[in-house]
């Protein structure tokens, strides 16, 4: 937990990320780090820019300004200069003049080892739970279209099916393997999304409100589950969550976002005592 904080390498680093949509600044100069083996939570009121931050990390958006590093190498770099600066309200000094922009697509970022779930659950609706997870194994394929069509990849296919079955067992959905994904109850759909994300063999798992819509008991179970898969798959977890009990229970560190700005960072204890946070967040949005 926190004692190995100093010696650990950082897995994810956001540096001065700003994301604007037209005149709206969704994220303002956000910098943060997530270290190997940590569970880090990103909290803040609705509309604080949390999901936008996830979208910047996973390549869905290109940040208006700033850098994202993953295991020390850049996956998104943008420092608008000259003419492009018009779109960015901040200032970029000459320091960044020679930084080349980097904009990896979401699929490439996933292949590098970042997997995510979605706030509004995006399962493949026409497919079974099993196939949903199985699709997650597609990106590590060694087959091409021809070897796959002619079943020359039977061994790989078998391995992937076994892996899928194992993942479903881990998330407790073995019995529902052949149900249509969207026919599952809400809580199970969330677990299925996690299983699907795990199928891509990530090193960093981004969870966007994994406990949304769950009752307190389910939420507790989810907490244990997250810690369990973190240890089992040697993951680093970065999550957005509104259930404060869950956040305080399992997080190593917490970042608090409000109106696109980071207003606090620290351990659960520190955050709970932080007057700024209490004023901005806990006091307003107590559950």
């Amino acid at each position: 937990m926190s004692e190995n904080r100093n010696q650990s390498t950082n897995v994810l680093r956001l540096k001065d990320i700003t994301m604007q949509f037209g005149g709206v600044v969704a994220i303002n100069n956000l910098s943060l780090e997530v270290n190997q083996g940590e569970i880090v939570a990103l909290i803040g009121p609705n509309g604080a820019g949390k999901t936008t931050a996830f979208n910047c990390i996973t390549g869905v958006y290109q940040p208006t300004n700033g850098e994202v590093d993953f295991h020390g190498s850049p996956i998104a770099v943008n420092h608008p200069q000259g003419k492009m600066i018009r779109q960015y309200a901040g200032i970029n000094g000459d320091a960044y003049k020679n930084r080349k922009p980097v904009a990896y697509t979401p699929d490439k970022i996933t292949r590098m080892g970042i997997a995510r779930t979605f706030q509004n659950i995006r399962l493949f609706k026409s497919q079974t739970a099993f196939d949903n997870v199985l699709i997650g194994t597609h990106l590590r394929r060694s087959s091409n279209m021809f070897t796959a069509a002619f079943r020359l990849n039977a061994r790989e296919e078998k391995a992937n099916r076994e892996k899928t079955a194992r993942l479903l067992e881990i998330v407790g959905l073995s019995d529902e393997a052949n149900e249509l994904a969207t026919s599952l109850p809400y809580g199970k759909q969330r677990r299925l999304e996690i299983a699907r994300a795990l199928a891509t063999d990530p090193t960093l798992l981004l969870l966007d409100e994994p406990a949304a819509g769950m009752n307190p008991q389910e939420t507790d179970e989810l907490g244990e589950f997250i810690v369990d898969i973190k240890n089992r798959f040697h993951l680093t977890v970065f999550m957005i969550e509104h259930h404060m009990n869950l956040v305080m229970d399992i997080s190593d560190r917490i970042y608090v976002l409000d109106f696109g700005r980071q207003i606090a960072e620290g351990t659960p204890d520190e955050i709970q005592k932080n007057p700024v946070v209490i004023a901005a967040y806990l006091g307003v949005d107590e559950e």
Binding site: F21, N55, V60, Y61
Partner: protein, 292 residues
């Protein structure tokens, strides 16, 4: 040089104006329903047949308003029967329905006409020959652009300054919200189809003065070109549709002047693809971002 090109230019402006009349229908419908109304070209053809059958027994002065009326009714009915039931369906379904309507209308027209090309009646006023400089042309060449501009201005006024216009703009920005705000979506959409069909009817009167043979599939190509014009001008923008149509009409005829007639249709689609790739919002379209 100019003397040889002048007839082509005139023809281009004229046919461009006629495309514009069709393009308005596409751009309005797309602006509101996000639907490429594949049947619009066939409604245009139907207007041509209405005219043929009506003038067989009625004077032209009465036929023209009746043609517009019948076309409007057809457009209205098509929307109510084929598009309204699919309001909440995926967009692909409603586009398939549009293709189905197009197929139905073409087959219906084939059945009624027996598949033979029908001769469009000569409209004495529009067919009058006049001289412009060195070029002899029909009066319709002059009337078309003037009428087009007049109607487009009127339409823009309607959209910007009337209540129904405001409702149309609201619906095109946000379908659900405007519904919540108490706008009667269905009547707004009906009005859109009525305006589009009326314009197509007027366009057909002008168009068939030059191309007098009407067959069931004659509207397909002008329809597609008008859609390209709408995309080129920026889908949703009425002046954009007009300008796009005029540019396409003129370019098409200049290509014919250059002796590449076979490519005049292909050019239109090449233009479409270039526009889609480099400026998908068209000349005057508004930029909108998709939400993730």
């Amino acid at each position: 040089m100019f003397d040889t090109l002048l007839p082509y230019l005139l023809a281009g402006i004229s046919v461009g104006g006629q495309y514009a009349m069709i393009a308005v229908g596409y751009t309005l419908v797309y602006g509101i329903l996000r639907l490429i109304n594949f049947a619009h070209g066939d409604i245009f053809t139907a207007a041509g047949f209405f005219m043929i059958y009506l003038t067989a027994s009625l004077p032209i002065g009465i036929s023209i308003p009746l043609v517009i009326l019948l076309t409007v009714v057809l457009g209205f009915v098509v929307e109510r029967v084929a598009y309204k039931p699919l309001r909440s369906a995926p967009r692909m379904s409603i586009m398939i329905s549009a293709i189905g309507v197009s197929y139905l209308l073409q087959n219906l027209m084939w059945y009624i006409t027996g598949g033979l090309a029908k001769q469009y009646p000569v409209l004495p006023f529009l067919s009058q020959t006049i001289r412009l400089g060195s070029a002899a042309t029909k009066l319709v060449t002059i009337v078309t652009p003037l009428l087009t501009i007049g109607l487009v201005v009127a339409l823009v006024m309607l959209i910007n300054h009337t209540k129904i216009g405001m409702a149309m703009r609201a619906v095109s920005v946000d379908f659900e919200t405007s519904q919540l705000m108490g706008i009667k979506i269905n009547s707004v959409i009906s009005v859109t189809f009525i305006i589009g069909s009326a314009m197509a009817a007027i366009g057909s009167v002008l168009y068939f003065t030059n191309y007098t043979a009407v067959t069931p599939t004659v509207g397909a190509m002008p329809g597609l070109k008008a859609f390209v014009a709408a995309v080129f001008g920026g889908i949703g923008s009425i002046p954009g549709a007009m300008i796009g149509a005029l540019i396409i009409g003129i370019c098409e005829n200049l290509i014919k002047a250059a002796g590449l007639t076979a490519f005049s249709d292909a050019f239109t689609f090449a233009l479409l693809i270039v526009v889609l790739l480099f400026r998908p919002t068209g000349l005057f379209g508004e930029k909108n971002t998709d939400k993730v």
